[in-house]
C-alpha cells in the first residue's frame, strides 16, 4: 500500500492512520488552514466549502466544491484539494498575495461583511468559475427558463452553484454582483490548466485507528466481500448523510467501506428500452451528463439540496438511507424505476415501488449494495416535480410530489405519481393514479383525483408543516399540474 497522502494547495500532507470520522474540515484546521470554517457541520451553510479535483464531465478534471465538514479525510488519499488560502497567488518576499479573480470581485464589491462565510463562498464560486461550459452557454442547470434572468449571469454564472452557501450579513446582492462579474479564466491560470490533465485516481486504502477501519476497495467484488465479511460495515458514497450522522448524532462506525469511486457504480448508459444510472454517479454528474434528457430529473436536481451536496451525493445514497423525505424517490417512483441490487453472490432487480418496507427500511439485505438505478424508456411526456418546503433553495421537503402522465387524445392513458413526506416511506399514489387512468384530462377529473390525492398517505404534524397543509398540498399539486398543462393559463 502506498503511503497515504493528500495534496492541499499544491503541498503534500501525509494522512497518518486516521479514524473514519475525522473530517476534511478538522484535518485542514489542525494543519493551520483555518480559512475553512465550521458553520453548521451538516452541509447546510457551506462555510467549509473546498475544491477537490474530480473526474470531469466536459474536461478530464473538474474542480468540484464539496462540504469539507461531511467528508472523511481518509477518503482523500491521493487526491488534490484547494482551499481559499490556495486560490490566491502567494506574494513573494512577504508581499501580500495576489487575489484570485473570484476573490478580487468579492473583495471590491463588498461581498464580505463579517467574512466568516466568505472562504466557503469563494470555493463554491471558484468551482463555478472553472466549469468548462460556463461561458459557452449561460448555465447548464435545467431549471425553469423564467429563472434565467435572475439566477444566471450574462457570464454564464449559475447562482444555484451558491445555493449551499449561507451568508447572514450581506443579503446576497453584492455576492451576486461579484458572481456575475467574473470573466473567463486566463490561459495561464494553473487551475484552468489542471482541468486538461487526468484527475487523481482513487487509491485503494485501508486505515485502522482506535478500533475503527476506513477501507476503500478497488473493485465492486472487493467491496461486496468486505460488506459480507464485516456485518457492521457501513457503505459510504458521498458521505452527505453519513457525515451528518457523524457530526450531529456522534455516530462512530467501526468499519466504513468507501464505494464512491467504484467503477462498476459509476456508469451511465442509455439502452433502447431503459437507462441505467450507476449508484455512485454524483447528482451533479447525472444532471450534467443527461443535460435535460430526462425532464423530470432535470426539474428535480435544482431543488435537491444544494450544489455542494449534489457534487457528492448519489442516487444510491438517497435510496440507501431510505429516508421518507428524500427527494429522489418520488421522482424515481413516477419514472417507474427499479434498482439493481448486488451482493457477493450476484444481482437482482427490484422495482422501486417494492423496495421500501418501513421507516428507513428496505428489502436490501445486509451485505447488499445498490449498484444502479434503471429507468424504463420511453418516458411519459407530461411530468412535474412539486416540492413543498419553506425555502426554495436547499430545504427539506414537507411534501414532494412527482407526476409522470401519458395523455393521448385528451385521455389519461397512464399515471405514475410518487409521494414523499406523507408516510413512513416514499409511496406511489395508487388510488389517485386509478382515479386518473382511462379518464378524460379535464378539470372535473382532476378535481376528483385531487380529492383522492389529498387522502393518500398519513401526513404528520411537525416543525416543517402541519398535517393539514401537507394533505392540502397533495391535492393542490395535481391542480397546479393541470393548470400548467392546459389552456394558456400562464400562472
Amino acid at each position: 500500500m502506498s503511503r497515504a497522502q493528500v495534496t492541499i494547495n499544491g503541498k503534500i500532507f501525509p494522512i497518518a492512520p486516521v479514524v473514519p470520522h475525522l473530517t476534511v474540515l478538522d484535518f485542514l484546521r489542525e494543519r493551520g488552514l483555518t480559512g475553512t470554517k465550521e458553520g453548521c457541520a451538516e452541509g447546510e451553510c457551506g462555510a467549509c466549502s473546498v475544491l477537490v479535483a474530480r473526474p470531469g464531465v466536459k474536461k478530464p478534471t473538474d474542480w468540484v466544491a464539496v462540504n469539507a465538514c461531511l467528508m472523511p479525510v481518509a477518503a482523500l488519499d491521493g487526491q488534490e484539494v484547494v482551499t481559499a488560502e490556495g486560490l490566491a497567488t502567494s506574494g513573494e518576499d512577504g508581499r501580500p498575495p495576489t487575489l484570485h479573480p473570484v476573490q478580487e470581485e468579492m473583495a471590491v464589491r463588498g461581498g464580505s461583511q463579517c467574512g466568516y462565510c466568505t472562504p466557503g463562498f469563494i470555493c463554491s464560486m471558484a468551482s463555478e468559475y472553472y466549469r468548462p461550459d460556463r461561458c459557452a452557454h449561460g448555465g447548464t442547470d435545467a431549471d425553469a427558463a423564467d429563472q434565467a434572468g435572475t439566477e444566471h449571469g450574462s457570464n454564464g454564472f449559475d447562482l444555484h452553484s451558491l445555493s449551499g452557501n449561507l451568508c447572514r450579513c450581506t443579503g446576497y446582492r453584492p455576492i451576486r454582483d461579484a458572481a456575475f462579474a467574473v470573466g473567463e479564466p486566463a490561459e495561464d491560470d494553473p487551475f484552468a490548466q489542471r482541468r486538461d490533465q487526468e484527475p487523481p485516481a482513487p487509491v485503494a486504502t485501508e486505515y485502522t485507528r482506535d478500533g475503527s477501519t476506513f477501507r476503500r476497495p478497488p473493485t465492486l467484488a472487493d467491496a461486496l466481500r468486505a460488506l459480507r465479511e464485516q456485518p457492521d460495515a457501513v457503505p459510504v458514497a458521498g458521505s452527505t448523510d453519513f457525515g451528518v450522522e457523524v457530526n450531529i448524532r456522534s455516530r462512530r462506525a467501526s468499519y466504513v467501506v468507501a464505494i464512491d469511486r467504484l467503477p462498476e457504480l459509476r456508469e451511465l448508459r442509455v439502452e433502447s428500452d431503459h437507462m441505467e444510472i450507476g449508484a455512485a454517479v454524483t447528482l451533479t454528474e447525472i444532471e450534467r451528463r443527461l443535460d435535460g434528457d430526462v425532464p423530470l430529473l432535470a426539474e428535480l436536481f435544482p431543488q435537491f439540496a444544494s450544489r455542494l451536496i449534489r457534487n457528492s451525493a448519489t442516487l444510491g445514497g438517497n435510496l440507501g438511507t431510505g429516508s421518507p423525505i428524500g427527494d429522489s424517490p418520488p421522482v424515481l417512483l413516477a419514472l417507474d424505476a427499479s434498482l439493481v441490487l448486488a451482493d457477493a453472490d450476484g444481482e437482482r432487480e427490484v422495482p422501486l415501488a417494492e423496495y421500501f418496507t418501513g421507516y428507513r427500511q428496505s428489502v436490501r439485505h445486509p451485505g447488499e449494495l445498490i449498484r444502479a438505478v434503471r429507468i424504463p424508456l420511453p418516458l411519459s411526456p407530461v411530468t412535474a416535480f412539486h416540492k413543498i418546503a419553506k425555502r426554495r433553495f436547499d430545504d427539506i421537503s414537507s411534501v414532494a410530489v412527482a407526476f409522470a402522465l401519458d395523455i393521448e387524445d385528451g385521455i389519461v392513458r397512464r399515471a405514475r405519481i410518487g409521494l414523499g413526506g406523507v408516510a413512513a416511506t416514499p409511496i406511489r399514489a395508487h388510488t389517485t393514479e386509478a382515479a386518473l387512468e382511462g379518464r378524460r384530462w379535464t378539470a372535473e377529473t382532476v378535481e376528483a383525483a385531487a380529492r383522492e390525492l389529498r387522502s393518500e398517505g398519513t401526513p404528520m404534524d411537525d416543525h416543517r408543516a402541519s398535517a393539514l397543509y401537507r394533505a392540502a398540498m397533495l391535492g393542490q399539486s395535481l391542480k397546479k399540474l393541470y393548470a400548467q398543462n392546459t389552456e394558456a393559463v400562464s400562472s
Partner: protein, 794 residues
Amino acid sequence: MSHLSERPEKPVVGISMPHESAHLHVTGAALYTDDLVYRTKDVLHAYPVQVMKAHGRITALRTEPALAVPGVVRVLTGADVPGVNDAGMKHDEPLFPDEVMFHGHAVAWVLGETLEAARLGAAAVEVEFEELPSLVTLQEAIAAESFHGARPLMESGDIDAGFADSEHVITGEFQFSGQEHFYLETHAALAQIDENGQVFVQSSTQHPSETQEIVSHVLGVPAHEVTVQCLRMGGGFGGKEMQPHGFAAIAALGAKLTGRPVRFRFNRTQDMTMSGKRHGFHATWKIGFDVEGRIQALDATLTADGGWSLDLSEPVLARALCHIDNTYWIPHVRVAGRIAKTNTVSNTAFRGFGGPQGMLVIEDILGRCAPRLGLDPMELRERNFYRPGQGQTTPYGQPVTQAERISTIWHQVQNDAGIADRKREIAAFNAAHPNTKRAIAITGIKFGISFNLTAFNQGGALVLIYKDGSVLINHGGTEMGQGLHTKMMQVAATTLGIPLSRVRLAPTRTDKVPNTSATAASAGTDLNGGAIKNACEQLRERLLQVAATQLGVNASDVRVVDGVARALGSDKELAWNDLVRTAYFQRVQLSAAGYYRTEGLHWDAKSFRGSPFKYFAHGAAATEVEVDGFTGAYRIRRVDIVHDVGDSLSPMIDIGQVEGGFVQGAGWLTLEDLRWDTSDGPNRGRLLTQAASTYKLPSFSEMPEEFNVTLLENATEEGAVYGSKAVGEPPLMLAFSVREALRQAAAAFGPADVSVDLACPATPEAVYWAVEAARASEVRGSEPRAEAHTLNHA
C-alpha cells in the same frame, strides 16, 4: 453646522470602500477566536453537560464516571467557582445551576485533551433530577401569570377621550415569533493564564468590558487581572452582546484551575439550544380611528417572552414600547409591557432590540385595519405620519425633530419604485391570473438612536502616532462585519488629515480602552467615532502648533490635508512624517485618549418619559411580491429602499448594512420558524428547529430579484460624527414591507377589501392559509372571526 458634524477639506469619510479586512476575508486569512486554537499549544477543550428537560431540580451530580474517560482532565462544577456563581448582570443566571431552567441547560462542563474526549466525558456525567412543571410557551406563561422584571406603563394624552372621539374602534390580538441570530460563527472563547496568574480571554463578544466584568466576578479577582480581546466576530447581531460572558467565564475558570489554555466553542446545535434569541411577543390591542382614518387612541399590552432569566429583556421591552408609534402620531396612548418567564433559553438582544417588535405591532394593526376602514394601506399609513412643525412628541415625550423626513422619504420611494404605474400593472396581472397574485406595499421606519439607558452612551479611544508618522487606533467598539473598523479608520484619517494608508487599527482589548459600552444599539460609530475624533483632534491641535512654528504662521491658519500641512495663502508645506518627527523631537505627546458622551439625553424609566434618543433614523421600503395560490409559496420580485444614514461615512458599508438588515428582517418575518416541543411528551421544551437543516435562513432564493437601495441625500445629522447616522439596526425593520405585501397579495385572492390575518413568520404554509381565508370571505369588508369592530355613533 455643528463642530461634530462638520467635515474638513478632502475628507476620507464619505469615500466608498470595501471592508478593511476584505482581503483577509476572501483569502481565508482573517482570524476568528476559534482559529487561534490551532496556534496555541496544549489547549484543553470544554464541553457542556446539558440536561435535556425543560425544568427540574438537580438532586445529584456525579462527575467520577467522566474522569474515567480517557483524555478527560477535569469536570467543572459550581463547587469550583472561587467568586460569584453567576453569568449575568441581574444575578439571576447561575453559571452552574442547581435548578435546570430550560431544555438543554448546562449544569457542568468537562475539560478534555481533545474535543472528542470532552464530549464523551460530558456524556458520562451522571445527573439525578427531580422534574418540575414547566411553562414552555408565551400563552402558558401568561395564563400562569409567570412574569419577571419591570412592568412598564407608557401613557400620554387621555386614552378614554381618545376612544370617545373615535369613529372606528377595533380590537385584536397578535402573537409573533422570535428569531435565532445564526451568526455563522458560533460562540467561542479561548482563555490563557500568564506567568503572573492574570487571565487573557479571547472571546467572540460584542461587549468585551462586560465579558471582563463577568469573568472577574466569577473568578473573584479584580478587573485589572482580566484582559478580554476580540479580534473580530463572524457575526453578532446582538447575540454576542450579553450571552458570551458566561461561556468566556467557563474557559477562564478552566484555565485558572488547570493552568492550561482552555477553548470553548459551541457547535451549532449547542449554540441554538443554549443561547438566547430575539424575543417573541404577544400583543392585545384596541385602536381608535377618526372618520378619516387618523389614529386617535391606542391601548395595548405587550408581553415579551423573556425566557428563563432577565438578561436584557427589560431594555428590550422598553425599546419595544418606545417604538410602537413608529412613524405615526398617536395622540392618546396607553401601552403596558411585561416580561413572561418561560422555561426556554433566555432571550436577548437582536438587531433592533425590541424596536422591531413594537413597530411590528402597529404595522400589523394598520395592515389589518386598512381594508376595514375602506382605505388603501399606503393611504392609511401616510395619513397618520408625524407632521413637522406641530410640536408632536412621541408617546414617551420626545419631540420628533425631523418629522419632514418621514414623508420626504416616503414620496421618494414612491417615485423611485414607480408605484402608480406598478399598481396598475399589478391590478392587470392579478385580473389575468386566477392562481397567482402580486402586491406592492410600502412601510417606513423611525428608529431611535442611543441606548435607552443614558449611562451607556459613552465611548473611548486611544490613538497613537509613532515617530515614523504611522498611526495606530484603538477604540472600544468591536467588529462583527458591520464595517465599524473601516469607518473608524476613515474618521481618524479625516480628523488627522492623512491618507487612509497611514492608519492601522488594533484589535479591541479591554486593556487599551476601559469601561466600554457594548457595540450595540447601532451606536458603535456614533460613540467610538466621536471618541476617535476627539483623540485625533487633541493630537491635531498639538501638531498644528508644531507646524505653525515650522511654517511661521499662526496655528489657526494651518491645515493638514492628504498628509501635508500647509499655511493658508502660502505655498510653504510640511509633510506629515516630517511634522510628526519634529513634534517628537520637540517632546510633544504623540498619543491621546479620546472620549465621547452623547449630549442632551435623559430618560426616566419609572415614569417612562424623557428624550432617550439623540436622533431618529428614517427609511422606507417598497416591496413587490408574487404569491402562488396553489401552495402559498412566494417570491420577492422587487425592493426599492430609501434610507437615511445622515451623510454616509462609508457608502458601500452603509448600503451593505441596509441590504443585509432588510434580508435578515425578511427572514424573521417570513421564513425563520422557531418551533419548540410544546407537547407533554418526554421532549417537552426541546427546540425542534435546532440546526441549519430545520431552521432556514434566507438564502439566495430569498434575495429580492431586483434590489435598489438609495441613501437619502443632503441628510446631514448635526448630532453625530461627521454628520452621519447610525445604520446597524434600522434597515431590518424595512422588511415589514415584505410582510404587508404578502398580506395584500393573499387578500387579492378574495373579494375586494377583505382583511387578512397573517401569521408571523409568514411561511408559505401561513400564506396559504391566509389565501384560503381570503378566498372563503364572500362579503366586501367582511369581519374576520376573532375581532370586534365597533362603530361609535356619538
